[in-house]
């Protein structure tokens, strides 16, 4: 697997991580070593095998769509400093 600085930068940007140049440089050989190891799986034949998204078979669980008690506005805002008039305040979007 060819791991370049550009690839690390692109993936980091997709993941919303503003890495420093030093971090990018450090990750290149580390990620290469790990991805090369992962490619060991290429040798395993999994042609018609079904994927196991969970270790145990899981069924969909449905419930009635009924309103239940939930957090009040004041409580929901307890964990942030960035709030105004019973709203969360976030960075600008435009």
């Amino acid at each position: 697997m060819k791991v370049t600085k550009e690839l690390v930068k692109k993936v980091a940007s997709n993941a919303r991580l503003k890495l420093t140049d030093e971090e990018i440089e450090g990750f290149v050989p580390e990620l290469k070593e790990i991805l090369d190891y992962f490619s060991k799986l290429d040798g395993l034949n999994t042609g018609s095998i079904k994927p196991s998204f969970h270790p145990i078979e899981i069924k969909n669980v449905m419930r009635e769509d009924e309103a239940k008690e939930s957090l009040g506005v004041e409580e929901a805002l307890l964990n942030t400093k960035n709030k105004k008039d019973s709203y969360f305040k976030g960075p600008r979007s435009l």
Binding site: S13, A15, R16, K18, F38, S52, I56, N60, G90, P91
Partner: protein, 459 residues
């Protein structure tokens, strides 16, 4: 004193709940100065709870002190999963397991140290501004991880206590083995994950650490069971019998000679029929499959942390992309960033089938390999870890991949969602060596039974 005897003493009024809690909190504070097992100690809340309990002493765990891994939500107590990005986050609710414990009179004494979000096997990848815990037997060595604080305090305390830990790829049995205590990682879904800060949803399991198997049994009975708030939680009864035949995993015995000797002596002392069984797929592909699934799920789970609504915040400067990218880079530790990048890559268009989907299919083959072995054996056995707890100076030299390889014996049962338990089997260089038993799904009773075997009576 065993937890059961302690609880009886409390309910009969022979033991003072307030005095006992003050005693263990003082101990935790003292120990923490030297060993760093706790990210938070909830002294005030614990004493208040003990005072209430003193008036009406009741419950299956009345007055019992419980420490909790920092990634499990406790109402009103700072819960960070060991990460700077959750700094100051105080949940407004209890995780289901905490709710069940408290209902039965247990008292939460604090949140224990862990690798950030569970990303590590030595508990050295603690989040920014967190302290690294030290092994209770030798301070130059690691506790193991990622539930290192749980294991360290369980080992060192002289008071009745159990710990609630969590495992994704071995984070319960690894530190329990390195610190010489018992660690049970239950069947996937046996305990509700509601209120657990996710690492990898298809792998995460909450479990228990304690000094005695009776303590584990007592607490398991309280915390297990279906929860409508967790759609993956099981609605099934525990099974398992007294093991009559055990399979020794051949490939797992290729580790350290001295450790193998200790494990073989213990197996012989059990007085149960045993033979070797080969599990080539899990030993060859386990690490790659595990890490691909774990980092893929972790990178999606960590996408929600953005410096808004809760946790670490900065001044709202720049547009949302700039703000989120800056916050995330400032508040995640190096290993968290590494796993986010690996996971994002493995799920990207063009690579998804080769990595992520392939790993999910390989998991099916690994599960089938275990299922086949359980047609013949009641339990499987191997050393818990390939080494004893290493020194900090040794661990610092390892590359990330060499770090991942330390999970070689524990990723298998975690991938397959199988219950497994570690108990001390002996010592190498005065450090504990754990033996790990793996059971079929829901066979927790077999695991508990084997730990009551006469071979472990000296523990």
């Amino acid at each position: 004193m065993k937890a059961g005897d302690f609880v009886e003493g409390i309910t009969l009024g022979k033991i003072d709940a307030v005095a006992s809690i003050k005693k263990i909190i003082n101990e935790a504070e003292e120990v923490n100065k030297e060993y760093n097992y706790f990210n938070a100690i909830c002294k005030k809340e614990a004493i208040e709870q003990a005072e209430k309990l003193k008036i009406h002493p009741k419950g299956k765990l009345a007055g019992l002190a419980v420490s909790v891994k920092d990634n499990i939500c406790v109402n009103g107590v700072e819960t960070t999963a060991g990460s700077m990005i959750l700094k100051n986050y105080r949940p407004l609710f209890n995780a289901t397991v905490i709710e069940k414990l408290v209902k039965e009179g247990a008292i939460i004494i604090g949140k224990t140290s862990q690798d950030e979000f569970g990303f590590g096997g030595f508990n050295i990848n603690v989040g920014l501004a967190k302290k690294i815990p030290k092994n209770p037997i030798n301070k130059e060595r690691v506790t193991g991880g990622s539930s290192g604080g749980c294991a360290g305090f369980t080992s060192i305390t002289k008071n009745p206590h159990v710990s609630i830990a969590e495992s994704t790829g071995g984070s319960i049995v690894n530190p329990a083995a390195f610190c010489g205590v018992i660690g049970l990682c239950p069947t996937y879904g046996l305990l509700s994950r509601y209120g657990l800060i996710d690492y990898a949803n298809s792998l995460d399991k909450i479990g228990i650490m304690a000094k005695s198997i009776e303590d584990i049994e007592l607490v398991l009975d309280v915390v297990k069971g279906h929860d409508e708030k967790d759609s993956t939680s099981l609605d099934m009864e525990l099974q398992g019998i007294k093991a009559k035949k055990i399979g020794i995993i051949k490939e797992s015995m290729n580790v350290d000679k001295e450790i193998n000797g200790i494990i073989m002596d213990k197996i012989k002392a059990l007085g149960i029929k045993y033979e070797e069984v080969s599990m080539p797929l899990v030993s060859e592909y386990g690490i790659a499959v595990y890490y691909l699934i774990a980092v893929s799920e972790a990178s999606t789970n960590l996408a929600k942390f953005s410096g808004m609504r809760y946790g670490y915040e900065e001044k709202l400067e720049g547009d949302f992309n700039e703000y989120f990218s800056r916050i995330r880079n400032n508040a995640f530790g190096r290993e968290a960033k590494r796993r986010i990048i690996l996971g994002t890559f493995a799920r990207m268009a063009g690579f998804r089938d080769q990595y992520y989907l392939k790993a999910m299919k390989a998991r099916t083959l690994i599960i089938n390999e275990y299922k086949k072995a359980f047609e013949k054996y009641d339990l499987l056995v191997s050393p818990t870890m390939p080494i004893i707890a290493p020194k900090f100076s040794e661990v610092n030299k390892l590359t990330p991949l060499q770090n991942y390889m330390m999970d070689i014996l524990t990723v298998g049962p975690n991938l397959a969602g199988l219950p497994h338990i570690t108990i001390n089997a002996g010592y190498k260089e005065k450090m504990p060596v754990g033996i790990m038993f793996i059971g079929n799904h829901l066979a927790e009773k077999s695991l508990i039974e084997i730990c009551k075997n006469k071979a472990f009576k000296s523990n």
